[in-house]
Amino acid sequence: MHIPDGYLSPATCAVLYGGAAPFWYVALRKTRKLLFTRLVPLISVFAAFSFVIMMFNIPIPGGTTAHPLGVGIAGIVLGPWASILALSTALFIQAFFFGDGGVTALGANCFNMAIVGSLVAWLVYRGVAGRSSITSSRRVVAAALGGYLAINGAALCAAVELGMQPHFFKSAAGAPLYAPYPLGIAIPAIMIGHLTFAGLAELMVTGGIVAYLQRANPALLRFTAPGVPMPQGEAQPPATSGWRAAKPLWTAVGLLMALVPLGLLAAGTAWGEWSVHDFSAAAARKKIAQASQNVAPPAAAPGGLARLARVWTAPFPDYSPPFVHSAAFGYILSAMFGIGIIILLSILAGWIAQKARPGPTRAPARTEET
């Protein structure tokens, strides 16, 4: 999943560096506040661990092996922010020193694996584990699921970034300049491997490590389980929330929303994104045929497609609500609506987490414990 140089256009790389920057900023501020003098040694040594874990060959059922990413366990043990820093550090060294993943694509790789991966792993783990005890088997399931979804979330981001390239960047003759496969090919090609081999490896490593730590070193699991009684009755870590520190994040989300019109540069219909009507309209049929190596589409819409279309009518078909007449404006509006829903959901999740937590006990930070 480490995207090398040359697969993504410089424009995509720049946007993803821009998308990752505010997360790095917030992560650095938050972890600095929490860890203070401990920041440098903890993050560096953990980054070294993440690097080494990526070299493990994990045997998966069926006699094959796959490399895990280690993002699941990082998010679970360190929490999302420190995990973002540690994994980004590991990815940086991989890109610059070992040539694994590109230098121009480093922003994209950090965005997919370090940022999306850490946040997904942590959210899923916290959500599924709930307030179960540190040694409960529910935490193992939560961890395994968190790892599985984290690596697949990261892979999906990578697939979308790669699949976008031929839609946006073509030479004058129409040859794709970067990754050549459109979304319709890139997403299944990448996701099949990750939903199976790589996902399983991550699932087993994350679940396995948490199960091992429950027996051997449960103290390492307490950081992302605030409010859960510890077997040894150790001090609770302080609650880490605060919308102010996340301000640059929201600025970035706003910026990304403003950048969405880039999507309008794409001409024509995306391969595989045809609607039922496209199969009967003559002009649209020609387009589909062109996009499909001159294989004529069936005369009528495939039965399954027509049936599905009736079941699921998205509120914004083709990304523009019916009452909006300009398609461009509708596209932007739809994007904002989509991002708005995500923001609302995260606020709701945060609020529920806040409610579930008993009164915040301001225990001394981890820095002072030695």
Partner: protein
């Protein structure tokens, strides 16, 4: 992240050999950085900025000729810096071809466009656009990878990191990167020792279930060791007066050769952008 079929070598052997490969790579890079060549003599900041100034147009160019020219420049820089072609061939050119080449292979068949060849037997169409796009991908990746490898092979790692200050990377991040690199080898060694000792005590084949348990438990032990190590490092730092402020010594000097090379890098970069439109 490719899944491989496990052949004769078990997962323990394969994991240990990837550890050894990483260490070998690092030792070789350090040795190479001490050689007396053109790039080795440059100020690391000039080298970092210069190489990136060549990577970006290689990634942006729409012209084959420009990317190929940048590739030739990279090869010339390698020759002037005494980086053996055998190393580039093995570590970069063939490695990239095996990975990206395989990925680009179906592109000529699935990219829509003007049909230039009809594959007999299978009946697949090869399109001009598809061949061009596969060419773009492979050439771009080869060029960018060659340039990046040159940077790493001719510069001691701590100098690469210090050079990052040019881009206003926070001092604390530079310190973290430097320490990560230093402890990377300690963690690698510890993981290597764990796997070696496990292997030396094994007389039979492990079942799949046992292998998975060994892998997860080793990762768990390594994680616990990591945290202990970070505690020890923290105490060691504190006992030497570390109070959370990081400062980096800036000992680099830009000399005449550096200015000349910086100008050359800038010139090539601008020309490549211009011609690659």
């Amino acid at each position: 992240m490719a899944a491989k079929r496990s052949g004769k070598r078990g997962f323990l052997e394969r994991t240990t050999s990837s550890f050894v490969d990483a260490m070998e790579h690092a030792f070789y890079a350090e040795q190479m950085a001490r050689a007396d060549g053109l790039l080795q003599r440059l100020d690391p900041r000039v080298k970092l900025v210069g190489i990136l100034a060549l990577v970006v147009p290689a990634a942006a160019s729409r012209s084959f000729m420009v990317i190929a020219a940048l590739f030739v420049i990279a090869v010339a820089l390698a020759a002037l810096s005494h980086v053996p072609f055998g190393v580039l061939l093995k570590r970069v050119w063939i490695a990239v071809l095996l990975f990206t080449g395989v990925i680009a292979l179906p592109a000529p068949f699935v990219t829509p466009g003007r049909v230039v060849y009809h594959l007999p037997g299978l009946g697949w169409n090869v399109t001009a656009q598809g061949v061009a796009s596969a060419g773009y991908l492979v050439l771009r990746v080869e060029t960018a990878a060659t340039l990046c490898v040159l940077l790493v092979l001719t510069t001691p790692w701590n100098h690469v990191l210090k050079a990052l200050r040019v881009f206003h990377v926070p001092a604390v991040m530079v310190t973290i990167l430097g320490m990560t690199y230093r402890y990377l080898f300690l963690v690698l060694e510890s993981a290597h020792d764990m796997f070696e000792s496990r292997r030396s005590r094994m007389i039979g084949e492990l079942t799949g279930r046992e292998r998975r348990r060994v892998a997860a438990a080793s990762a768990g032990v390594l994680l616990s060791k990591t945290f202990d190590l970070s505690n020890e490092v923290f105490l060691a730092m504190q006992s030497r007066g570390y109070r959370g402020d990081v400062s980096i010594l800036d000992e680099f000097q830009v000399r005449r050769l550096d200015w000349a090379m910086l100008a050359a890098f800038a010139l090539v970069s601008i020309a490549a952008f211009w011609l690659g439109q």
